[in-house]
């Protein structure tokens, strides 16, 4: 059982997805999905402890040795991402039951859970596999189910948002395939470790830089790096609440994982940053993303949309850390992967609670919620403080490393922009807080606090925000190990 864990991590959810569809009853399919998510979470945790104890785990599918067969390869980074994705799924699913019953027609609920589990499967697969073409396949599995999930939103604009995402996502994925194909044409292999070995020999050709460029654009599209983020705000805004909470905290994170995998593991940091100068593109874009998208977020009138733009800005932080290409910088990026998943998860789930009771996420509609839904708004405040980076929350830990990484390189301006971003975050978080706490609730039937089945998962994530902000040794340790591994600096 244990030696098969790398593949079971992906296969069990893959089996659960059709099962969730076959059982047909909403409640049952929810149970199936819940079981799959918890299974994935425990498997991921056990993989992470395994990797931390004894190094990377390889798994040959069908007993075919790499590079002929497909290899699954779990190292510190992939185990980390597996934990993030499955952990968020395990929290979002208990939340989803009530929320989905409110937002989605009954006969579509089994389909919804099937798609959600498929989406999780795809994301887990991307993290687990050691084969670049497999990355593409899993990417499309997760994306296609994500398109479907987003289209299930109540507003008809969910449809156009999903369509927009589909077009841009497919273009991104196709770019990635082109990049993979060009790499294959030069090396004749698709295995990541094998590619990493063979690429340096052909790196001087014209094909490899082209492949590099295609991959860079494709991955940037998927991770919504400014200015390729256009699909994201609409998609997050109009998707059902549970979907937003799940996708916002996982999908872009996995895209960042792809970025790390392609440019550190496959191409190697030396080629990516010293020959191709990836940082010269990523860093300015990340900085612009942090500032511009935070400013845009301040002007949003819809809570979910506000958080969506904030997500684009936060992705800027991760990319910024990565573009520093130092152990500390990459560690900051990897750490922020986890930390941002926690904070955006809790924030979007708080929004889901608001949606459940109020039926709208407009900032205006949240007037007086500080009184009527105290626990929901308290969760929002804590998540928001984390986003700002107040000490003793996870956001602070990310910022601590990011600023340190910038200072280490003597990049003053960057440290300043990171901190400026925090202040802009303060502005948009406070916009919601002020309305919720200082505006009197509208007349008419009062709003009640969200039910416990929504509140408990939300607060689990909020507690995680605090817990990992107070005791960040483990998370920072894993992030540093992953960064050292990626940069080949030994652990």
């Amino acid at each position: 059982m244990r030696e098969n864990l790398p593949v079971l991590q992906v296969v069990v959810p893959l089996l659960a997805a059709p099962l969730a569809f076959l059982v047909r009853r909403p409640r049952l399919s929810w149970l199936v999905a819940l079981g799959a998510a918890f299974w994935a979470f425990f498997a991921a945790l056990s993989l992470l402890t395994g990797v931390l104890a004894s190094g990377a785990i390889g798994y040959e599918i069908g007993g075919w040795e790499p590079p002929w067969g497909i290899e699954y390869r779990i190292d510190e980074l992939s185990a980390w991402v597996l934990v993030i994705v499955s952990g968020i799924a395990a929290v979002v699913l208990p939340f989803a039951r009530a929320s989905v019953e409110r937002e989605i027609e009954r006969d579509r609920i089994p389909l919804f859970y099937t798609a959600l589990i498929l989406c999780m499967t795809g994301l887990l697969g991307i993290a687990a596999t050691g084969d670049v073409f497999n990355v593409f396949v899993f990417l499309e599995i997760s994306s296609l189910s994500a398109y479907g999930l987003i289209a299930m939103g109540q507003n008809r604009r969910a449809l156009t948002s999903s369509y927009q995402y589909l077009i841009m996502g497919s273009v991104g994925a196709t770019f990635i395939v082109i990049g993979i194909g060009l790499m294959y044409s030069m090396t004749g292999t698709l295995n990541m470790a094998d590619l990493a070995e063979r690429l340096p020999a052909v790196a001087a050709s014209r094909t490899i830089p082209v492949a590099f460029a295609f991959l860079a654009v494709g991955v940037s599209l998927k991770l919504a790096l400014f200015p390729l983020h256009l699909w994201l705000p609409n998609a997050y805004t109009y998707a059902p609440s549970a979907v937003t909470a799940f996708i916002a905290s996982t999908a872009t994170k996995v895209a960042v994982y792809m970025l790390l995998r392609f440019f550190f593991t496959v191409f190697g940091a030396a080629f990516s940053f010293e020959v191709m100068h990836l940082d010269r593109i990523l860093m300015p874009l990340a900085l612009v993303a942090i500032v511009a998208m935070s400013l845009v977020a301040i002007n949003q009138e819809n809570g979910k949309r506000l958080l969506a733009y904030s997500s684009v800005a936060q992705i800027g932080y991760m990319v910024l850390g990565i573009s520093l290409a130092s152990v500390l910088g990459v560690a900051a990026g990897v750490l922020h992967l986890f930390n941002h998943a926690l904070m955006k998860g809790s924030l979007f789930m708080a929004m889901g609670c608001v949606m459940y009771r109020v039926g709208s996420c407009r900032v205006e509609a949240m007037a007086g919620l500080g009184k009527t839904m105290p626990f929901t708004m308290a969760a929002f405040v804590v998540g928001g403080l984390s986003l700002i980076g107040v000490p003793l929350t996870v956001g602070f830990i990310s910022k601590w490393y990011l600023v340190q990484a910038a200072l280490e390189k003597g990049m003053w301006g960057i440290a300043a922009v990171v901190l400026l971003g925090s202040l802009l975050a303060l502005a948009y978080v406070w916009k919601v807080v002020e309305v919720a706490y200082f505006r009197p609730p509208p007349d008419g039937p009062g709003v009640r606090e969200a039910p416990l089945s929504l509140l408990i998962p939300t607060w689990v994530l909020v507690a995680a925000n605090l817990w990992f902000g107070i005791d960040a040794k483990t998370t920072a340790g894993v992030a540093l190990r992953a960064a050292r591994m990626l940069l080949g600096a030994g652990s």
């Binding site: 002020e434 200082f438 340790g477």
Partner: protein, 483 residues
Amino acid sequence: MAAVAIALPALGAFVVLALGKWPNAREAATLTTGVALFALVVSMIHPVEDGTGQGWTLLEVLPGVTLGLEVEPLGLVFALVASLLWPVTSLYAIGYMRGHHEENQTRFYFFFAIAISAAMGVAFSANLFTLFAFYEILTLCTFPLVTHHGTEEARKAGRVYLGILLTTSVGFQLLAIIWTWQIAGTVDFRPGGILAGTASKGVLSALLVLFVFGVGKAAVMPFHRWLPAAMVAPTPVSALLHAVAVVKAGVFTILKVAVYVFGLDLLGTLSSTPWLAWAAAATIILGSLVAFTKDNLKARLAYSTISQLSYIVLGALLANEAGIIGGGMHIAMHAFGKITLFFGAGAVLVAAHETDISRMHGLGRTMPITFGAFFVGALSIIGVPPAGGAWSKWFLGLGTLEAGQLGLLATLMVSSLLSLVYLLEVPVRAFFGRPPEDAHHPEGIHEAPLPSLIAIVFTALATLTLFVHPGLLHDLMTMVVSR
């Protein structure tokens, strides 16, 4: 023990929350916690005097970065002042809040207690990270107090308050802390400092600038606007938090950074130190001048606070023992003096519904105790015997002489003269002025509610006592510089 000192008010806060429906029990809880906290802090004096102060590491947040507590003399001074004045202010607040029919009183007492808990955390923190964490908590938990009334004006003030305090702390102070960590490899407070010899003088000078302006709570101009803005809060908040706990947390941080991060020897050699000292001096004078122009009593007191806070910043930047001793003592002296003044202002508001100085003529006759106490407080701020403020000004003056900065000494003198005028104007008008014709004070103005009156008299007497017995403070501060 330090952890208990932080936990106690936090615990008290939740008791307050639980007792929200029974106001008397709720207030009893606040007072009991306050007295217990003060007793606890007092019990720490002996170990510290014997030199057996301890450190505790609560937990390691990041490798090398810990949430740690430590009882040392400087922190003890701050803790003593804050914990003594908390129950006193609570007593005052009971009279004020009920007399003024304020809403959301439970929330008020809750956040009040949390703020004290955070102030204790600031006082006992063993490293910059812990201090920063509690510093930010203090900012955030005082926000609901500043915006207590929930009006448009209060919200605007709250925005300014939060905006400036968080901008400076996140933008400058955090940067300075991370930078310190980067070059020194530690953020612990150590006698003699941790930065000596770690980086070039230029870098350290820049770092000092970041620290001084990063501690927005010290209200060095141009980052002072939040303090007058915070005056929309109910008066007990202005009294305890914006004359004692919050602002003193700021100057306390600067003292701590000066003594335990830079070290006096290093501080004296940095090129930015004299410049910053002059910035503090400018704040002293400008604050006093602006105070002149304010007719609103609380606003005037706020600008006076800005001016007085820079005395302490200046003391720290003199980089000699007398300066630090004077600065540390001024934390206590100014606290008792200014809180008395605020209590007076609040009492006038509750009893006579007046906020403007120009309309306080003749009120002294109906409220003699209040204005008598106000007079004593004013003396302390001005720095003349027989009030405690004389001692701290004495040491600050010594410090400037020792540093050979006659210009700074002159600044202190001028500012004292200015405060003499703008503070004494109030009791003089009250006692000797004629009530204005159009004043339609409600019939039967009398003294403030009894609990408030007790508090006012207590702090006024304490101000006088500190003149006679400044020994403890002086001893503790001497320990700080000789450690």
